[in-house]
Symmetry: C2
Subunit: 254 residues, 2 copies
């Protein structure tokens, strides 16, 4: 049995509690949080505290707080034992206080209130300063996920930036498409199956090979007609730059 304390009451904390509670090999012995209202939701399932000095002994302390808060909260912790990890993609392990056994437990996924995700599929990137701690993290991660990956802080930082491109920027494309549909009075939800298929396609096919559309074909007629259709300055600028980037990508091989 691995005893865990979760620090934080946000989305990641909530999803971790949910998945930990479904597995016999893990026991969440306490949740710490500063936000009383958010914390009270956790109190329905496990012991809680908002007093950092009352944190109880555990094998692993998982900080699921915002990037900005990691260093400050970690510095106020007074752990007698156990392994301290955080769940951030971009903060180095060495940002945690040196006096602690330190590690990383980074689930690579976007978590939304009210949406359940299948943890078995989510890659968990782990890092630790020594082998014993690495093994403990691996044991914990393997209980909830089939995809556990050892990774140093530098690689994790790169992966996090790649995730921003693949998730945040992609979602912004959905938004721009949605905004354009609203302006033109066509229902955006007609695009849902296309959006799903675009994402599923690259599970088998490299994005380089999956690319289609007028920019890939360098179909200047359509590119020009599309630009003429776009009245919004921001849409126009992004359409131009993204088409240019696609043309450059495939132009190399022309």
């Amino acid at each position: 049995m691995i005893n865990v304390v979760i620090l934080g009451t946000g989305n990641v904390a909530k999803h971790l509690l949910d998945v930990f509670m479904t597995h016999d090999g893990i026991k969440v012995v306490q949740v710490y949080g500063r936000n009383q209202k958010a914390l009270s939701v956790f109190g329905k399932f496990v012991p809680i505290t908002s007093d950092i000095s009352k944190i109880i002994p555990a094998d692993i302390y998982i900080m699921a707080v915002s990037d900005d808060a990691i260093v400050e909260i970690a510095s106020r912790l007074d752990l007698k034992e156990g392994l301290l990890v955080h769940t951030s993609g971009s903060i180095p392990m060495k940002s945690l206080p040196k006096k602690n056994r330190r590690g990383i437990f980074y689930p690579l996924q976007t978590f939304t209130v009210g949406r359940t995700v299948d943890f078995k599929e989510i890659p968990i990137c782990i890092e630790a300063e020594d082998d014993t701690d690495y093994d403990i993290l691996k044991q914990l991660a393997s209980i909830i996920s089939n995809k556990v990956v050892g990774m140093d802080s530098k690689q994790r930082k790169s992966l996090h930036l790649a995730a921003v491109m693949a998730n945040n920027f992609t979602n912004h494309m959905y938004f721009l498409s949605n905004e354009f549909c609203e302006q033109k009075g066509v229902p955006f939800d007609l695009l849902h199956p296309l959006i799903k298929e675009t994402a599923h396609k690259i599970q088998d096919l490299a994005p380089y090979d999956a690319q289609t559309g007028p920019a890939r074909r360098n179909d200047k007629g359509t590119l020009k007609k599309h630009l003429a259709q776009l009245k919004n300055k921001n849409h126009k600028e992004l359409y131009r730059l993204l088409s240019k980037s696609i043309r450059k990508t495939y132009g190399k091989k022309l």
Copy 2:
């Protein structure tokens, strides 16, 4: 029974033949194509011809050819009867010859060789010059899809541009993310579950509300660090512009 002739031997033609063959109410009586090699694949299942003067009578002639070829092939057709439609998002119905009964049969999806798609979920946008022809198209489309939508050429053109943003540009984001992963030596496939979840999320949540990440939070520290990590000039420029676009989107409400 609706008798159909398919004109074209590409991806869309192949996917249409596949789905038409699984339904009793539709009979593909012939496939016409200029590319003998591609055409021969169709010949395993249905009658074929590469001679445009030998096209046989049918209720509906579906042109599944590239946008550039539509006008030229349509002008060479000599149909005694039946309804002529094309499957393009961006070509107006009126581009088809006036002497024919004309219409549109536009399945809004990206089709890839070897990937089966669930047609039941694919929106089919239809248009016709008169009500009887509209009803025939509606009947055909409803056999294969649960989502049949009447739409004029102007709306369809808008939807097609929205699809370019939501599909082509999104796939390019995947590509850039993949390219960056390769440069940094981290496995891109770790991002697959994130990419799937990002696409699935907006089936329930508007993209505006689904947006996360440093640009949405206007987290200047992270944005600066990310820009410093990007060495590729193209990555840098796109990162900057997309982050700016996201900041502007949410800045409105700050």
